[in-house]
Symmetry: C3
Subunit: 473 residues, 3 copies
Amino acid sequence: MLTKKRSLSGDRCFSPEPIQRQIAHQFFDSISALPLVCPHGHVDPALLANPAARFGSPTELFIIPDHYIFRMLYSRGIPLQALGIPTSDGSLIETDHRKIWQLFAEHFYLFRGTPSGLWLKDELYNVFGVDEPLNSRNAGDIYDYLEEQLTLPEFSPRALFKRFNIEVLCTTDAASDTLEHHQSLHQEGFTHIRPTFRPDAVVNLDTPGWRENLAKLESTVDWEISTYATFVQALEERRAFFKKMGATAIDQSAATPYTTHLSDQEAEAIFARALVGKLNPGDAQHFTGHMFVEMARMSVEDGLVMQMHCGITRNHNPAVFEQFGSDKGADIPLQIEWTENLRPLLEVYGNNRNFHLILFGLDESTYSRELAPLAGHYPAILLGPPWWFHDSVNGMERYFNQVMETAGLYNTAGFNDDTRAFVSIPARHTVWRRIACNWLAGLVTRGLVEEEEGYEMARALAYDLARVAYKLD
Amino acid sequence: MLTKKRSLSGDRCFSPEPIQRQIAHQFFDSISALPLVCPHGHVDPALLANPAARFGSPTELFIIPDHYIFRMLYSRGIPLQALGIPTSDGSLIETDHRKIWQLFAEHFYLFRGTPSGLWLKDELYNVFGVDEPLNSRNAGDIYDYLEEQLTLPEFSPRALFKRFNIEVLCTTDAASDTLEHHQSLHQEGFTHIRPTFRPDAVVNLDTPGWRENLAKLESTVDWEISTYATFVQALEERRAFFKKMGATAIDQSAATPYTTHLSDQEAEAIFARALVGKLNPGDAQHFTGHMFVEMARMSVEDGLVMQMHCGITRNHNPAVFEQFGSDKGADIPLQIEWTENLRPLLEVYGNNRNFHLILFGLDESTYSRELAPLAGHYPAILLGPPWWFHDSVNGMERYFNQVMETAGLYNTAGFNDDTRAFVSIPARHTVWRRIACNWLAGLVTRGLVEEEEGYEMARALAYDLARVAYKLD
Amino acid sequence: MLTKKRSLSGDRCFSPEPIQRQIAHQFFDSISALPLVCPHGHVDPALLANPAARFGSPTELFIIPDHYIFRMLYSRGIPLQALGIPTSDGSLIETDHRKIWQLFAEHFYLFRGTPSGLWLKDELYNVFGVDEPLNSRNAGDIYDYLEEQLTLPEFSPRALFKRFNIEVLCTTDAASDTLEHHQSLHQEGFTHIRPTFRPDAVVNLDTPGWRENLAKLESTVDWEISTYATFVQALEERRAFFKKMGATAIDQSAATPYTTHLSDQEAEAIFARALVGKLNPGDAQHFTGHMFVEMARMSVEDGLVMQMHCGITRNHNPAVFEQFGSDKGADIPLQIEWTENLRPLLEVYGNNRNFHLILFGLDESTYSRELAPLAGHYPAILLGPPWWFHDSVNGMERYFNQVMETAGLYNTAGFNDDTRAFVSIPARHTVWRRIACNWLAGLVTRGLVEEEEGYEMARALAYDLARVAYKLD
């Protein structure tokens, strides 16, 4: 009944129930050729700005930069050094990329049933044409094959960008970023690669290296930021520059979505304490909460869409942080609260129809309890797609199940891949599109929406909602 | 495979899996003729007390009073004024109901996949015979048709009450209510329309207008309520009157299910501070928590079933509250805690077998963690059906999935529609009954309950459990 | 379509979808003969140490010792006395076991759709050959039949242990336990019955009877425990003895997974206050939090696997506690937090690959938010199976759905039955195995894992993971 063929199933992600599966196919067929809209992610613009850029070895492409991958291997006892992850102190790591790949292949079974496993299979098959499951025996051959492919012009980032049919790709960039890569891309006519303003490094006063981050911002704006007022002025100037360079959105992140209004005096006082390195307890949280409101004010003024990503403890594992730095798979979500925390911001800006506030969280218990009711009432609020750990088959199904009845489809923001792994972009969108079509097919087979409506909703989920939410039209 | 016919599917809500669907049909057929038991809701008794009452225009029936509907339209940027929602200050609103209906129809796609959309389709089709999906093109014709129907005697509230096969309908009434409509209904023999005692407006000391609410209560009991002792006496007298008028239940609501025992002196002191408008921080919460225990005491004494509805922040959006008042779709749920909060109440009354305490919450993370284990132990506790946002296809399925294994079916309280939208009552019960039958069919097809048991459980969910829980036998 | 045959369905727990069901059968057939691995539970070793031990009457076997059963009956108003549950004060209870059984049978419908109901049907059918659903009419006959069977040698605990194909059974034993039954079992060669070190009674300073528990520990180690230092020494000595008697694991439990480091002076001071019965507020919690870290240290040193069971309020109902004692179905789960609470422990021991820390909780909202991300990063952490209330069809499906994509299958610890109801062991493992196979069949039919992988994953879930997690190889 099941064939032994090991290539990627054309039915993947769809329900086994024949009628639902057939309708899911119909919906998917109707939208699978639509271009990819990528309004939030972490691709390095340098990859695309330089026509000669290449991805490097298979290990450099698939393992070393991807904390989704190496955290799983680490959790089963494989040292990060053995995977070639660079150390902060320059201590020795494995440099034989073929050997790292072999180790990865031997442990590829760890990714069974995970989204990373699904994306990797899709990438190997659909991007590189590897129609064999990776294992310890064929690891070397597949490495050699991939290594060769990666040197070819058709596997350059630019060639893949075209092949992937990406209509727009937004990167995420520090407030101090000069956007030189975006400038050169724009000069070449790549205006569909857009920056996103991310001020966390200077707004969150307890960020490691805050003083240096501020110095970079000073250097970029070319004036001294010695007061809260000049700090705000610098942010406003940078936002204007980002907007000029094509940005339609900003992104702000904190452990909690706490928002508050500080008086100018209070904000100045905290900022002054930060400058001398003498923050009081609570200062950083109050300041971030205040800056959420300030960023909302600026968004109302300049029209940039505002994203909030909340609910993660960064660098939970001090040993890993000290040896390897940030973004090493050691970020762990927290319980969070939106209803009371967002109130100060919403009471000022929540009723503004032109203000788009897109919310992302990792605490799924808030989907049906807080986020969907908030989105189903406030004109400003849209819900972002399932984020990070929840960007998965089950994560998406929980999201559709828990969000849509109360928020309504049209208060959501479509999909974004949120990835720094450029080559995984089509695989991630495909999972979203398939799961969305399967969900809609379920609604149709259960008599809850009409088939014609399903086609429109499928298109919205795959394409339209993201464009509208991020003002990309 | 799917027809283009746009009428309501007879399979709606059922699984597409053929065997499960067939069994779901069998169960549903066996219970669909049972009368509707409506033990908790917000229908205005005046509608039924006056034989000449009519629903007004289609817009007055479907849109203006229904915050489920207009909150969704508001969330997508349609001003409440444009929907004819009355303003507190009497400022201008749209008064052309046909135009409002047109606007609604143009945005009817917003309700795709929502419970409101499902109910509306059911009401239009099954109550009014509109067998065409509402859209911008046919909006005017459908409006004219509905408008005409609504003037006919067979679409009077009383005629529909009979047609809907409602066995008992409980309204929700303020402690100060004279129940004049219930009195006249009873004199006519409509004893199956029963009041429910809801003392929130005088018990929650921080309710806007508390002093005026208390004055109304004073006026109703016709004595001065100048102390906590006389306040309690007034509540007891009113409960006795409600019971005489057919009430079998009370309903009490607060943001949190916090319960506590205050001494008489403490209660008197807080009440005295409330009377002079000088509450201390925490006073209102302690007093409400204490009154939960007091109401439980009275229920143990007078036998009235006690309902608790907890977990919502009322009037989250001050701009909407100031301009339009309460119940305008701006109530947002909160995380809550039952295990520790209910303890003071339960240690006194939780083991009483004749005391029925029916719990309702909006924090679904408490279903499997707190509510089901509490109901599966304490003789007094029953769990109410999925409430408000969760009165939906997925909300019910989450409830069955997360509650039943631990609480057991017979510690639940069946369904209640909780609606002020009288015409939506059958549609709401139908969704519950269909989802219940589909859930039971799933248990049968998975070999977890026998088919014969399924029939009994279907009847219990549709009819028996509500009657037993609310002492309606 | 459905037969009227009332025996246990061979398809039970499987999806009705034909292809998924068929693959689930294939997987289940491939693993159903594997021996049972029972690494955590509460079976009394005396049952097995004495060859002459018998289970007593059907009521003594199925009802009196099983709080899963009598809590449900109690919740519907049946007094615990009427079920023969012994009272602390020796006040009168029902002693006619046949009459209790009759009462139980009359209320057997309360267990519809519950895991207890499913286990009971399985036990009656598969262990005792009762192929008729229990009801009020056949209750007496079934009682008589069971009573007779239970006197037969083939229904002795030892005979059933063999028949059940149990490869290893770990009991749970107090720190002060002399393990005399384990000693005699070992002398007979029953080395596959292993103790587990559970120090809660002496570690949690607010345990009722703590001083007496400590006295028992003193008596066992045969020296005075007058200081924190000697207390730790006693625990270390006992762990060594347990290990010698075959233990591979310890188990520690608290309401919250709060962990902290106390200095020796702080720990000594709290311990001294406990000895004189004058604990300060917070002392017990800090001490337990510190002892979690201490137990982790010892586990790193002696290699014993560390289990943490967190998130339950014990003895929530004081009336039941006073009259009947602990473990009477009145334990209610609480919301808990892992991410911040475990940090002090993890920053010292979380990166140790040889340290196995198996986590169990009852707050399912932490599955996808905290537990899976923690397990998917820290080498030490493994996730235990769904615990207690969640050891059920839906509980397991929620676990698979919410844990596996992020944690990965190989960061989980397989199944354990956690039961004191010895006869229910095969039924519990069967539900796990069936649900696991059905979940895997779903992954295969949805194209997410290959069929070959499914066989390996099924075996891992049924057998391998538990052996590896508990170091039973």
